[in-house]
Amino acid sequence: MKLFREHTLLITLVLGAGFSPAIAVDFASDIRPLLSDRCIKCHGPGDKKGGLRLDSRDAILEAIDQDDLAKSELLYRLTTDVEEDHMPPKKGGTKKLTSNQVELFTEWVMDGVPFEQHWAYIIPEKAKISGDEHPVDHFIGKRLAEEGFEPNPAADPATLLRRLSLDLTGLPPSVAEVDAFVSDPSEENYEAQIDRLLASPHFGEKWALRWLDLARYADSNGYQHDDLRSMWPWRDWVINAINDDMPYDQFTIEQLAGDLLPNPTKDQLIATAFHRNTPTNFSGGSKVDEVRATLMMDRVNVTGQVWLAATMECASCHDHKFDPITHRDYFEMYAFFNQSVEEIAVLGEGMFRKKFIGETVEVPTGRENPEQASKLQAELDELEARLAELKQSSTPGIKPQIWSTQKEIRALKAGVAELEPAVVHVLRDSRTPPETRIFERGSYLAPGELVSTGTVDALHPFPEDAPQNRLGLAQWLVADENPLVARVAVNRWWAELFGRGIVETLDDFGMQSAPPSHPELLDWLSVDFVENGWSLKSLLRTLVTSHTYRQSAVIREEVALVDPGNHLLWRSPRHRLTAELVRDNALAISGLMNREMHGPPVFPAQPEGLWDEIGGADIKTYPTSTGADQYRRGIYVMLRRGNPHPSMLNFDAGDRSLCVANRPRTNTPIQALTLLNDPNFVDAAEGFAGLIRDREGDESAKAHWAFRRALSREPSNAESNVLLSLHATDPTWFDVAQALLNTDETICR
């Protein structure tokens, strides 16, 4: 690719340029990354090798000779030829500092070791900007101007409306909506479109998706058996909360501690199912206390990850190697969650199956059928009676019969449950919670020192009047003094629109994080977000009204040579829709989509036998949806961890075993096969072809309409010709429909 070759050449030229006199060292950009990458793993809060830490100025000064800075131990270790003294040590695999880096280090020491707090731990402030400037364009523009570049011109109105609709609701605009906007692309009308889309009930469906990834939401337990469970009322709670623009601080408190609020509503209880999304291992040999420890650790990890972009997990076995999170901090956080009642118990005799216990909330499904349920119940009673008989019997070889009956009973029970109100597991604290001890090396079999509740000491203090329970923890998270929580959220939502965070490491704001590309912008938006009552909708309004958002996606080679990754945002990023939206978009274009919201998961066609492959599962038959249910939006598609829908996996949806902040976006031949041959997408092409056939007008008019239905914009002559020549060999329009649904532009925004 010519573009990239030239870029490499350019870098080589720049690197080859000569030296010039020294300039002052910047700690944050020059020194901290080196300390973090090359030193802190051994000389940090974790290992303190040789008794030396290099993560604070005071500690570093111990390796500095104040009387003769140049003779400091620190510099000797970096420069010596004596192999056993040299740092970082050769055999550790950590890269040596280059001579330039040593030079920077030397200069920094000679400057007197100036040190500053890691940016993410400093409370953000709003930089001043002039009144009539758009804040996003101000900061993006400033940086672009520094590099000597201009942003792209605005995208054409049709493309812009498509982008806005897909970004805000996950659905494409209709041709009529596009026509109306193209005929009046004024500022007022653009803002009216934003208002319309933000008010759409489908807004919540789109913006819940990212949250479901973070919350590791699924419809089954995971692991062996992988039984189904009803978590969907919590998923609906998220959709509603986002549609209502529930302030993010409240959104946080209700999910972490809705049950601890005074007189909690049913919805507030359902919100706490957030932390019952944890995968749960009910395998035969798993122990109840082991499962509980895994659940609690998962809650600490996910809480840290979701709200702080902290990599808590590192501190589950020892002090964090890079960040100021101690092993003790970890278990003090654990103590908040460990106040919960027992949630797992052994079911019946033997140790083969366990079940959930603890607090639940009943939610109507809209599919209750008491009559059918009592019929099944009668069958169930009969089976139970037969099982009792079998167990009495002393006939040899009876075992397999007993097992299959037990299995039948479990499957039937699940069937009965389907016809009754859904039971959602939620959080509740115990009046007599177990004590919490630090697990040595993270093992529940090695309990050590007793700890009580607490938060990460190196961050802001726990609010004085807050209770020592999950409610207090939630209040600590959303306290004004927390420098992280707004930044982390704003950064992820930014990434949802722009494809990449201002901080690229969406999952890590610690010492190993990528530096923000536009730090002042992130801070401005974060402060503004809180000032606007933690409103997601108002944040999004700010983002999508910017020119940065509205510019065209065309790649200008002269800029791409310098910034191929578009880190400066000189063009609108293009990226592929997420798995759920690839589906939604195709269904919407085809006219097949059923826009019904909420409720139990649906089961669009999938290859046969997938559920049969789940180890030890009772429910092995996938109850394929028929009728309109098979065309519901992707967010409602059954997600069974042991074998999720293959189309979703093929487009990078995960199995929701872990909290995921950043889904990869791949581009594979399997995706092509899915779009071409998965019956769901074949149905979509057939539906779309039917719509084209039904259009008034001649072939050209039909082709023109089809193109606009898929892509909103006007086709070029060449594009129309492609469609017409496909039509020439296939008068049914199926081939045209499939080609349009498969084109890169259709599955990208």
Binding site: M1, I11, S20, I23, G285, E349, P664, P669, Q671, D735
Partner: protein, 478 residues
């Protein structure tokens, strides 16, 4: 200050300084992270992200996972001393503080009824249950001192395949695909064949947090083994080609307008997909294999998806440059009636496994192909006589994590070597323990990879197959 200016006055030093926050550094940072991994060029002959750390001994891996945990003391690691304890408990100092899945520490010992003999020039010992594998012992390297951390199938399978007991981590095969890329443009780099599925399901061959293109692609048996490979009924090959060409004509016009390289990648993927539609069925069609080869493996009916057929497919796949082939064989979890059930499993795998080694050797491929054979854990020296549901059963053996045996062959391992040993009870490792992490480190080493250097940033950690453990066992390497 423009770090990209070619002005000779702008210094290299200045560039580097600005580089740490400048776009150069940002671009480099992202190259080092996800972006290189989400590289659009997925299958196809891609280079992988990881330059080799040293000259590789093996280029590809065939991983034969005996799901459930074969009994080491009935197959590979004879324990005559157990006869003295038959029917009584092991000394309490042996079992104290140990974890068991179903039996208690007082469970009664059961010895092995099988004959063990020495074979080959090496004199490696094997039980009579595996007569054909006994014939290739000089190519096998037997590790009797394996250890793992888990006593449950799902977590044990996950440790063996991903190095971590929880679901969501990349599998060994995914790491190999990520690190080394693919050498065949029409097939995935990591193919999974199954004779029964592990209980932890597809996460066992998943990509975890690596990009999805590195997950194992399961060939499901039959003539069209990949999902969505088949065109809908009404679409013949010619029509499919017209649609793909039409799609790509539209893609090309988009590219001309937008200049986005992601679009050219998409064009390539559609061409590949079209080729895969014939390449994959060709791959699984055994009609060009001679009768003598079919007989060697014991393939009686080529339409039947037996273990023997899967072994032959594994050879065909590595022959065409697939990086990592895995066969899962369910059914080794012999809690009850072990002497009936174990014999059957051995008959199922003995011929295919030995044929695979023989065949690869004849074709000169054994040196560059690492074959591994083993379960997620071993089995207890004590008998299990009560089922999980609490009912009496014929004797079996429970899960055992303190010691078990795996076999390796080809790919630079020492043939004929028996490595490590267990105590007289066959309970714990007495010499040269090899933890699963060490074993992973060793396998990666054979592929030319330093296990500490093949990493992927996940939640701030440089995540790797061996987590924070693992030592290469040099003694195993030829």
């Amino acid at each position: 200050m423009n770090p990209f200016s070619l002005n000779p006055g702008s210094s290299r030093r200045e560039f580097l300084r600005n580089g740490t926050v400048g776009i150069g550094a940002m671009a480099l940072a992202s190259l080092n992270r996800a972006e290189s991994a989400t590289n659009p060029y997925s299958f196809g002959t891609s280079k992988g992200v990881h330059a080799l750390d040293h000259a590789p001994k093996a280029k590809q891996v065939i991983f034969l996972h005996m799901v459930g945990g074969p009994s080491q003391m009935d197959l590979f690691d004879p324990k005559p001393a157990l006869a003295q304890y038959e029917g009584s408990s092991l000394p309490s100092e042996v079992t104290k503080g140990q974890k068991f899945a179903f039996v208690g520490p007082d469970a009664k010992v059961i010895s092995s009824p099988y004959e063990f003999r020495q074979h080959g020039e090496s004199g490696m010992v094997m039980s009579d249950l595996l007569p054909r594998m006994s014939g290739v012992v000089d190519d096998l390297c037997m590790i009797r001192s394996m250890k793992t951390d888990e006593i449950n199938h799902s977590s044990g399978e996950l440790v063996l395949n991903t190095g971590h007991r929880l679901i969501g981590r990349p599998s060994f095969g995914a790491w190999a695909s990520y690190g080394l890329g693919s050498e065949n443009s029409d097939l995935p780099a990591y193919v999974v064949l199954t004779n029964g599925i592990p209980v932890a399901g597809s996460p066992v061959w998943g990509a975890g947090f690596l990009p999805a293109q590195h997950q194992g692609v399961r060939f499901r048996g039959g003539a069209k083994p990949v999902f969505y490979l088949d065109d809908p009924e009404q679409i013949d090959r010619e029509r499919r080609k017209r649609i793909v060409d039409g799609t790509n004509a539209l893609n090309q016009l988009s590219f001309d307008r937008l200049r986005d390289p992601e679009i050219s990648a998409r064009i390539k993927q559609y061409e590949l997909a079209y080729r895969m539609q014939t390449a994959v069925p060709d791959m699984v069609d055994l009609k060009d294999e001679s009768q003598s080869v079919l007989d060697l493996y014991g393939v009686k009916d080529p339409a039947e998806d037996t273990y023997a057929k899967n072994c032959l497919l594994a050879r065909r796949l590595v022959e065409s440059g697939v990086r990592f082939v895995q066969i899962f064989v369910q059914g080794w979890d012999h809690h009850a009636d072990i002497y009936k059930n174990l014999k059957g499993k051995c008959e199922e795998v003995d011929q295919g496994t030995s044929a695979l080694i023989t065949d690869l050797k004849q074709r000169g491929l054994l040196d560059e192909t690492l074959i591994v054979w083993g379960g997620e854990f071993g089995r207890t020296p004590m008998a299990q006589v009560v089922s999980a549901g609490g009912d009496p059963t014929g004797p079996g053996r429970d899960h055992h994590k303190e010691s078990f045996t795996v076999l390796m062959a080809g790919g630079g391992v020492k043939g004929g070597l028996t490595y490590g040993s267990t105590d007289d009870f066959g309970f714990g490792v007495s010499e040269n323990p090899v933890h699963v992490h060490d074993w992973h480190a060793t396998c990666l080493h054979l592929l030319g990879i330093d296990h500490e250097r093949l990493t992927y940033k996940y939640q701030g950690l440089d995540a790797r197959l061996t987590q924070v453990h693992g030592h290469v066992v040099k003694d195993l390497i030829a």
